[in-house]
Amino acid sequence: MSDPLLQGRALVRDFAGLRALNAVSFEVARGSITGIIGPNGAGKTTLFNAITGDYPPTAGRVIFDRRDITGLAPNRICRLGISRTYQSVRPFLGLSVMNNVRIGLLYGRREALTRGEQEREMFAILDFMQLRAIADKRAEELIPLERKRLELARALATGPRLVLLDEVIAGLTPTEILSMMETIRAINARGITVLLIEHVMKAVMGLSSEVIVLHHGEKIAQGDPAQVSQDPAVISAYLGQADLSAGLRR
């Protein structure tokens, strides 16, 4: 990859003696949808947290758009153009849908928006995520699917160049999965690079142009989906997790 948007160089992250990430190096191409898979406890979310600065890497470098962002505060990293969602959704429960989105617009952007631009952007995002009708509700009044959409809306509000999606598809019904996959593609079509963690193999394989496989905190494979699913190391890592390995072979 000649000029990746995001690059991890030998990332290490320790938690009280436990090594959650061990020398993970990877690259995410501009404009791509890249998937991260791996069994539970493989370090996927830890990798996200290392990128966003929530839990900065113990060693190694994170390079975003040719710039070293290792150790920057999360709010600064956000302004540089990385945005995220959470595995278990974390909208600001007491705030209205609009204000949830507004946070990203007001604080997450590098350049300040005028009031008019703000409103226009906000309603465009609400429309895009089909949240306009419930814009005045508080987040705690939303149903789970709406909360997921709200998380995505908030992530888009910061005007990111890269979004990290942590299991946005998990827990949805088959119809909802299809619509969410469409949404992710649409986001990508806006020129936003997507890095996503997912357990639903069909979705990952369907969406991603590239897949990274983590296991026990180490990267064991990276490549296009078809190639990765044939990788013996990957298969053995998933062994014992019948449904997942079944998903891999399918």
Binding site: D54, A73, C78, S83, R90, G94, N99, R102, G108
Partner: protein, 312 residues
């Protein structure tokens, strides 16, 4: 117009009150002055405690510091108005200074460290008796300042209410609320949390500092146990909770209700004033986590007045 009327009319009436020619005028003014003091403390406490979700049990430290700063400056010969300004600036600087270490703490740690700060301030004030007069207290020239104090407190109440309202609708206010809801997420979405917390604390320190400075001027004889007292530290918190912490209208309503309850208690009962106050506080904590103004009928009323906030 309709929305501001319920605010403007009482303010105008209260402003006209000193013109009243009845014997008990000054008594009424003093009752209201103490009420205003409570409103200011509760309302400004809630900027950090309610809007930002950091239970600042040390809010009263700003009041006591303002009271002492004014007394010391005034006795050193600084004219009154500059002395107030300097006292308030000193308190703001103090707030900015402590915000860094204190906001490294979260939840209970923050609440406790802030509470401990009040006690520390009390002791230090006692011990530095060359500066503060120590346990002998600090006295400034006495005078009857009932009417000016009343007007000043009323003005500060109006200002603090406006400030709360403006903040709750502002960029800063939104960031404060997001910190209350989930500080890590707020930071992930670009909110410079440390800066926002410092700003919030400094803003919230202005009002108790002003009231503290005027308190010394009004009572003219203060001592550390009084201005850094436990009761005065904790009642504003109870008031904010009673009315509805995190709502602009909450603390002011809570302050009025609790203060009036206290007035009734001490005039109507000879004994057990503290216990009754405690009972009220328990009931609030137990049954009204959202406070009065989140109760359905009152919430509906706010809706009709057009005062309901989006984020509650």
């Amino acid at each position: 117009m309709k929305r501001t009327l319920p605010f403007v009319v009482p303010t105008a009436l209260l402003l006209a009150l000193p013109l009243l020619r009845i014997d008990a005028r000054d008594y009424v003014l003093q009752v209201l002055t103490l009420l205003f003091l409570n409103i200011v403390l509760a309302q400004s406490y809630d900027m950090v405690g309610g809007t930002m979700g950091y239970i600042n049990l040390g809010h009263i430290a700003f009041f006591g510091l303002g009271a002492y700063a004014l007394g010391i400056l005034y006795n050193a010969g600084v004219p009154f108005v500059p002395a107030v300004a300097l006292a308030v600036l000193a308190v703001m600087a103090f707030a900015a200074l402590i915000s860094y270490p204190f906001f490294r703490l979260r939840g209970a740690y923050f609440a406790l460290a802030a509470f401990g700060l009040v006690k520390l301030m009390e002791y230090v004030t006692i011990n530095l008796n060359w500066l503060t007069g120590g346990s002998n207290g600090l006295k400034i020239d006495p005078a009857n300042r009932t009417v000016p104090m009343y007007l000043v407190s009323l003005a500060v109440v109006v200002i603090v209410l406006l400030a709360s309202w403006v903040i709750s609708r502002s960029r800063l206010g939104l960031a404060m609320k997001s910190i209350r809801e989930d500080e890590e997420v707020a930071r992930d979405f670009g909110v410079p949390t440390r800066l926002v917390k410092t700003q919030a604390l400094v803003v919230s320190s202005i009002f108790p500092a002003v009231m503290g400075a005027f308190y010394t001027w009004y009572i003219n004889f203060i001592d550390p146990g009084q201005v850094f007292g436990l009761k005065i530290a904790l009642t504003p918190v109870a008031m904010a909770m009673l009315g509805g912490s995190g709502l602009v209208i909450g603390p002011v309503v809570g302050a009025i209700v609790l203060y009036m309850a206290e007035e009734v208690i001490w005039t109507q009962f000879d004994e057990l004033h503290g216990a009754m106050l405690g009972g009220v506080i328990v009931v609030v904590g137990l049954f009204m986590p959202g406070g009065l103004m989140r109760l359905r009928p009152l919430d509906a009323l706010l809706g009709r007045l057009g005062w309901r906030e989006d984020d509650r």
